[in-house]
């Protein structure tokens, strides 16, 4: 497998001078590139993991760490091209892109940028929008795999708000509109969906292994379970260290209604990992207790958020006397939408002039809408559906309070996003983010009275809102991706240093190579 790009010499040369945006003078020196395995960046499928991968890659790239990112991309339904691989360098110019051919027994795709665009697969559109500002990072190369890994979309559409790219047409006032936009697609049965999911994971694993063959890299860094099997396999054949980055586990995602097969994949792959990155101490604890993993190889690295740019338009000066409380996240058991509604009902008993926005979609969307109806508060709850891009920002900026009542959330990156927009935040203590943020209100997801009480307090007392905005917005600046990336590089370095001491079967190979 060969790929040519204008920056190809950066593959071997380290760039030790890259500065972090936050003004830190720490420089990263990793000899060799990182092979990163992931799926679903925000435009395809939102959620914390996509946002996290994007933020982390950008920061690592800025530090001069070279990354080859093997990424799943959704296969278009009418795509005549079977599963395959595109190699796309985001260095930017069409002539820098050279298709690759693998797996002679299967189909090969050797798409150029133009070819992709021509068949309407719109690499440019996707990538330019998703990675718009990443295209200027020569250290980052993407290798796409055409499988549609959408595991959290067990039904219908999905997504946290996330830092999504501006997508399709949006209803102008999605955030504050009066009517719920019911957006539920017909879908295969749960069982069919599940089977096709495992098939897609297998497909990803198979192709990722092929894509990795022949590449040179220092270590393998895989994000979440769909890529863990590929990561473990690539690490095994290459003899390179395997870092498993756990953004969430099956145990947490499903609010304990675990799919045993996924659990086993996680458990076995994580056992093989040389290092594990957990996104909070709470998440680390789950890995130790539920997955029986060795504590000493688990590193806690918090997610970050890149602060909303200062030059964004300010919210309008239109005075509205109605308060807005925002929920933004997947409508799944994990995110606790029913607790939000239960609290909303209590709030409405004592505070009338408030509207609750529940943005996002997911398997519980319809059920949640029905619940709002049953509680008799549907006139006060808005379901705008899955928000993208500007809609996300507008929703945040219009909110008097963002509530994240997660039942079990390893981190909860949306809470950081909210804080970065200077929105007061109320999070459940069952979220990892509650460990790091002092200046957020906290509650237990099941304590509806407490949640409602704190919502009422924020709506009623402007000084509380002001203090949360000010201190939260300031505090969140210390949780940026530059700091997270530094910690990740620390994990790489520790493993690579350890590996310079002979390890496994690969030692012979390495020594032989050096002696030549």
């Amino acid at each position: 497998m060969k790929s040519v790009r204008p920056s190809s010499n950066s593959k071997k040369t380290n760039s030790p001078t890259a500065l972090l945006r936050e003004g830190s003078d720490v420089t990263a020196t990793i000899s060799g590139r990182i092979l990163m395995l992931g799926w679903a960046f925000p435009a395809y499928l939102s959620g914390g993991v996509g946002t996290a991968c994007q933020g982390l890659c950008r920061a690592l790239s800025q530090m001069g760490v070279g990354i080859d990112f093997i990424m799943s991309a959704p296969g278009d339904a009418d795509d005549s091209v079977p599963d395959g691989v595109d190699t796309v360098s985001l260095a930017g110019k069409p002539d820098s892109i050279v298709g690759a051919t693998y797996g002679a027994e299967r189909s090969r795709v050797a798409d150029s940028w133009d070819a992709a665009a021509a068949r309407g697969q719109s690499i440019g559109e996707h990538d330019a929008s998703v990675f718009g500002d990443l295209t200027s990072h020569p250290h980052l190369e993407f290798i796409r795999i055409n499988v549609g890994l959408q595991p959290y979309q067990r039904s219908g559409e999905s997504g946290d708000g996330g830092v999504a790219a501006s997508g399709g047409a949006s209803s102008q006032d999605a955030a504050v509109g009066q009517h719920a936009e019911r957006h539920v697609e017909p879908e295969p049965s749960a069982e069919e969906g599940r089977e096709s999911l495992f098939a897609e994971v297998d497909c990803y694993t198979h192709q990722a292994i092929q894509a990795a063959a022949g590449r040179e890299f220092a270590c393998v860094h895989a994000h979440d379970w769909m890529t863990f099997q590929a990561g473990a396999a690539i690490a095994e054949t290459s003899g390179k260290p395997f870092i498993a980055h756990v953004h969430s586990t099956e145990y947490e995602r499903t609010a304990r209604q675990v799919d045993q097969r996924i659990f086993e994949i996680e458990k076995q792959s994580l056992a093989k990992a040389d290092a594990i990155i957990a996104v909070s101490h709470m998440a680390k604890d789950v890995l130790i207790r539920r997955y029986g993993l060795d504590e000493s190889k688990i590193n806690v690295i918090y997610n970050g958020v890149d602060r909303a740019q200062a030059n964004r338009p300010k919210p309008s000066n239109i005075v509205r006397d109605e308060k807005i409380v925002l929920f933004m996240g997947r409508m799944t058991l994990q995110k606790g939408p029913e607790y939000f509604l239960a609290a909303a009902r209590k709030v409405l008993e004592v505070f009338g002039n408030v509207r609750f926005i529940m943005a996002g979609s997911g398997e519980l969307l319809e059920q949640t809408m029905r619940l709002a109806d049953q509680l008799g508060i549907s006139d006060r709850v808005i379901f705008p559906g899955f928000l993208r891009g500007d809609e996300v920002e507008r929703a945040f900026r219009s909110a008097d309070l963002y509530v994240m009542p997660s039942v079990s959330d390893p981190f909860g990156i949306a809470a950081l996003e909210a804080a970065s927009f200077d929105v007061p935040v109320l999070v459940s203590r069952q979220s990892g983010v509650s460990e790091v943020m002092r200046h957020m209100l906290k509650t237990d997801f099941w304590d509806i009275d407490d949640m409602a009480d704190k919502i009422v307090a924020v709506l009623r007392h402007p000084p509380l809102q002001a203090a949360l905005r000010k201190h939260g917005g300031f505090e969140v600046q210390n949780l940026n991706w530059g700091i997270a990336a530094q910690a990740v590089v620390g994990v790489y370095q520790a493993l690579l240093n350890r590996q310079s001491v002979p390890k496994r079967a690969s030692v012979d190979h390495e020594q032989a190579g050096q002696s030549v």
């Binding site: 008993e349 209100l441 009480d453 704190k454 009422v456 007392h461 000084p463 509380l464 002001a466 203090a467």
Partner: protein, 422 residues
């Protein structure tokens, strides 16, 4: 008694009329009610958490007040009046102690009746009324005076404000309330290089101010880490030597909270041993203990002290910021004093009592973002989520109290109206 130090005026402790050389130990006792997790939703909880309040009060009394008072009484007896000190006990502390550990009132009475202890005036509820409503402040101070006269038969002559906060205006107000002097932390800026071991006349009212020696007091209250090493470093003869030496300048103010003994430091850390031996060692070295009033009588004002704004102890940054610096804090205090007149209009009763209790400065301190404030508030707020929740609970209570007071006034009005028209 030999004058081993050589600088101590030898007549000081013998005649009791010397013009300088006083060591003033002033202890302060205060314990507040703990706020409950009162919600705006499902208001089943009480404003105050009786269980936690009882816990807090009982521990405070058992671990700090009783053992300290035992040592003090025995030192007074042993030194036959040469060990003298002053104490202040907040009104709310007296209420709670009487309710939960009544025998401890007797322990204070023993001290006061020894003839070697002066009782100081202090705000009943340890609030910041002086910054919002002098009327509320005056009423609170008067209530405290009545309470201690009733309990101990001694009327205070010198005033110790909440957290030792002082200003010219306050000194003058206190003078009008009948006090002969006021305690204060050494305000470095106003002192402008002058010694904190002298008495000064504060503001136009020229109220005498007796200052805490921050460094020496902090050696006990902050640096005493317990254990044998701490004991060696602080206890006689070293610390006594220092005290006696410093007192040669005039008066050394050793102002401490009772919680320094037993609560802030573990009981077996040596702090009680220190307290047990200190008076004896000081007297041995020729030091002279004085009560606050005695020290004020012995020391004429060495100059004027201008305190244009309220000053707090240096460990709090010297300002009111730890209590009122945040938007939530100033809002809460403002809202509290905004209903003072309606609370008073309702007249004596549980609602007015609740309003008075909410004046406690600790409720505002609990809303502070300062680490030191969080540290000091943790016993009051361990069941709350930090400063934000402290504010929420306070405001929930205040909102509900306001509603209740207004409802009470309406009822009274309904009752009174027919009478008025007659």
């Amino acid at each position: 008694m030999s004058d081993t130090h050589g600088v101590e005026p030898d007549s000081a402790h013998k005649s009791g009329t010397a013009m300088n050389g006083s060591i003033v130990l002033a202890l302060h006792a205060h314990v507040p009610r703990v706020l409950g997790r009162y919600r705006s939703i499902d208001q089943q909880a009480h404003y105050f958490d009786a269980y936690r309040t009882r816990e807090l009060c009982t521990r405070y009394v058992q671990e700090c007040i009783l053992p300290t008072n035992r040592i003090l009484v025995s030192a007074i007896r042993k030194l036959e009046g040469r060990f003298r000190l002053s104490i202040s006990i907040s009104g709310i502390a007296l209420d709670l102690i009487e309710q939960y550990v009544p025998e401890a009132i007797g322990s204070f009475a023993d001290l006061i009746q020894s003839g070697s202890v002066e009782l100081l005036g202090t705000p009943y509820h340890q609030g910041l009324g002086f910054a919002y409503s002098l009327q509320a402040f005056g009423a609170d101070v008067a209530r405290h005076r009545d309470r201690v006269v009733e309990l101990f038969g001694q009327s205070p002559n010198v005033f110790r404000n909440t957290e030792l906060i002082c200003s010219e205006q306050l000194a003058s107000t206190v003078g009008h309330l009948g006090f002969n002097g006021i305690l204060c932390d050494a305000p470095q800026e106003a002192l402008a290089g002058r010694s904190c071991h002298r008495v000064y006349a504060c503001g136009p009212s020229e109220t005498p101010v007796l200052m805490r020696d921050p460094e020496t007091s902090a050696q006990i209250s902050e640096s005493f880490t317990g254990g044998v090493d701490g004991l060696e470093a602080l206890v006689a003869p070293n610390f006594a030597d220092r005290l006696v030496g410093l007192s040669a300048e005039g008066v050394v103010g050793l102002f401490l909270d009772y919680e320094v003994f037993g609560k802030r430091f573990v009981t077996d850390g040596g702090i009680f041993e220190f307290l047990r031996y200190l008076p004896e060692k000081v007297v041995e070295k020729g030091g002279a203990f004085r009560t606050v009033s005695e020290a004020l009588a012995d020391n004429e004002a060495a100059g004027e002290l201008h305190l244009g704004r309220h000053v707090s102890p240096s460990e709090w940054g010297g300002t009111l910021s730890p209590w009122l610096g945040g938007s939530m804090q100033s809002h809460a205090a403002h809202q509290l004093y905004a209903i003072e007149s309606v609370a008073n209009a309702l007249g004596e009763g549980p609602l007015l009592d609740t309003w008075r209790t909410l004046q406690g400065a600790e409720y505002l301190l609990a809303m502070s973002m300062l680490d030191r404030a969080a540290d000091h508030s943790k016993q009051l707020t361990s069941h709350l989520d930090g400063p934000y929740h402290a504010y929420i609970v306070f405001m929930n209570i205040l909102d509900d109290l306001t509603r209740q007071i207004e409802a009470g006034l309406r009822t009274q009005g309904a009752v009174r109206d027919p009478v008025a028209t007659d």
